[in-house]
């Protein structure tokens, strides 16, 4: 954050001088690093104005105090201490925030594992088994179908399917497989994971597919010629080369699921805690500093996970 501001300071005087005199312009043209900054500049400004500065405000507000109807701009750790209330007193039992994050991480892990498995094979099929570009394009578009309807409608549509009197239950009862409708099909962790997988597998497919199509086909032929089995080729050639796609897809899925509260709320019957839900409840009660504190905690945890993932693969290098 500090560095980017410094860079801006360095860059802008150059810019001014550049437009003033020819000599300076020539200097600017000669400096490749300046050109790079110029190219990255607009994006950096947007990033600064709409991401970093608001984020700084969130951090500041998270240390403010509040009452029923306004923010009190005085330093207070109340947002944080309230959030971790009972975390030591209740030991060995988990406190609210502990339980909430445990649940969020659990859902996150399940969704990540399933989307990775499904997404990998869908991408594999698209990249290696579908030969024509047109079909690849067409089938990728098919993957976007879940996004054609609104979030709410899509989720409401699960009720007639998974509900107590829904299609699946009545079908199973009729075939005699079960006597009573299965209650856990809807408003359960199962339905939450199902809905999230249905929604977000696409975010896994696209980056993995992107990595896979860029794999040089001659490498696979070489492996084949050298006598590698299909499985050996997969493990030793394709997976290592698709790693950047896997990591990028994983980052997409994990960040989205960590912050999700709408899908978890509707599919979990509002009975499953989510990190995002705590923030929403706080905001609705006009307790902005407490909400901001929870947002900072969520950000920190998500950031930690991403850092660990990028330790596994150096994305910058791979791109």
């Amino acid at each position: 954050m500090d560095t980017s501001e410094d860079i801006l300071h360095q860059a802008s005087p150059d810019l001014v001088r550049g437009s003033e005199t020819k000599r300076a312009a020539k200097a600017a043209r000669l400096s490749p690093s300046f050109i790079s900054w110029l190219q990255a500049g607009p994006m950096m400004l947007v990033f600064l104005a709409f991401f970093l500065i608001p984020l700084v405000f969130v951090v500041i507000v998270s240390f403010w105090d509040y009452n029923e109807y306004q923010l009190l701009p005085a330093f207070s750790g109340r947002g944080y201490t309230d959030t971790f209330e009972g975390c030591i007193a209740q030991l060995p039992e988990l406190c609210t925030i502990g339980k909430t994050y445990l649940m969020t991480l659990k859902l996150c892990f399940m969704v990540w594992a399933i989307t990775l498995f499904v997404g990998f094979w869908v991408a594999y099929f698209l990249a290696f088994h579908v030969k024509s570009k047109t079909w690849q394009m067409g089938l990728s578009l098919l993957c976007t179908i879940p996004f054609w309807t609104s979030n709410v409608i899509r989720m409401i549509a699960w009720i007639p399917l998974l509900g107590r009197n829904g299609l699946v239950n009545s079908g199973l009862v009729k075939t005699g497989l079960i006597n009573h409708p299965l209650e856990w099909l809807l408003f359960s962790e199962f339905s939450v994971v199902l809905a999230l997988v249905h929604l977000f597998t696409f975010f896994m497919v696209v980056p993995i597919f992107n990595s896979m199509v860029r794999i040089d086909k001659s490498l696979i032929e070489a492996a084949y010629d050298a006598g590698a089995t299909g499985f050996q080729t997969l493990v030793n050639v394709i997976i290592p080369l698709a790693k950047p796609g896997i990591v990028i897809g994983s980052i997409f899925v994990i960040t989205i699921v960590m912050g999700d509260f709408i899908t978890i709320g509707v599919m979990g019957g509002q009975q499953i805690a989510a990190a995002g839900k705590i923030i929403e409840t706080r905001v609705n009660a006009l307790q902005f500093p407490a909400a901001a504190a929870n947002a900072v905690i969520l950000l920190a945890i998500t950031f930690l996970i991403i850092t660990m993932m990028s330790r596994i693969v150096d994305i910058k290098k791979e791109l």
Partner: protein, 429 residues
Amino acid sequence: MTETTRTKGVSRRTLLKGTAGLAGLAAGSGAITGFPYVKSADAKVLRYLGTAVNEGDDISKQCLKDTGIKIEYITATTDDVTKRVMTQPNSFDVLDTEYFSLKKLVPSGNILALDAKKIKEFDNITPVFTKGETPGGKKIGGQGTAPWKVLYLEGKDSKKFATSATEFVTLIPTVYNADTLGIRPDLIKRPISTWAELLNPEFKGKASILNIPSIGIMDAAMVVEATGKYKYADKGNMTKEEIDLTMKVMTEAKKAGQFRAFWKDFNESVNLMASGETVIQSMWSPAVTKVRSMGIPCTFQPLKEGYRSWASGFCVSKGVSGAKLEWAYEFVNWFLSGYAGAYLNRQGYYSAVLSTAKAHMEPYEWAYWMEGKPAEKDIKAPDGSLLEKAGAVRDGGSYEDRMGGVACWNAVMDENDYMVRKWNEFIAA
């Protein structure tokens, strides 16, 4: 880093102060708002912030026809309405909100009380609001934020609620109702008469409550009291111990699998009930009507412990003055003059001025909705769709019986912050 942080904090604060100052200046000096409106007198527009309850297209069309005032609706959920008043008080002119949010809105200074003398029908407003009793003289339960406790301010710019009538009215009442549990009589197959049934193990996995903390905990308190576990001094303003006790009962029920799901919006509650996922749940009157209009039996069950009631009304943004303020009065007066009241009554809500609404309704409609008599003819919704066949009787009966049976009102507690934290704990349990 710390240095930057502090500078930014200051600049933001200064900015906020500046904005507030400007807004105050604009509001205070008639000169600013006064003169541009002279020319635009032909285009009378009011921005109307509220929940979807009163915001019917028919109402705005009729209003334009009768008064020439064009209403622009800004629709939000109750929580978002409050948030908007706090953070963007200049983004609306007329505010339609619930009485319980006044505890937050009035101290913020972002809304302006209306002058009772300028409201033509003020003396005809139902005594439910002014005295806390029905027109027939029944005393109404006053737990929670009952409207008569917060109806008047001590002075024009006062932030204190007056204990006796003054001419400064916080909210001119528009609509209100008495809420209770909705049930599926076809699936329950026996009479239900108490809130305690919500936690009856017989309905394990088939019950639901609202996931709006301030309202959900009131329903929970009705249940706790009905089971005889505890008697609250004021369900709408619990102590920390009372909150703990209430949430403990609810947490045990949740862990035992009593609840199928919690609901947050109107359509969710309709879906849960219509699909048979739940058979007993807290509900809103028009949601029950909607389930019934799908051909599915659903009853808005009157219970012996009484109803949980809510009410909303009009005020204006602090930024409204001059000609715009006059239009706001004109609009509020029009709203109370009968057309809108009849429209709301026909949806199963109640209007604030009963006499004018009655004049705009057919006698058989009035008899069904307000007097609890069997319908002489088919009962139709404002849009003309069939609600009830001839012979039907309204759940809970007459206005006297329903409003007279109110036990408590939607509220914001003094321990709201603690309650919200406990609610999050309940959801995580």
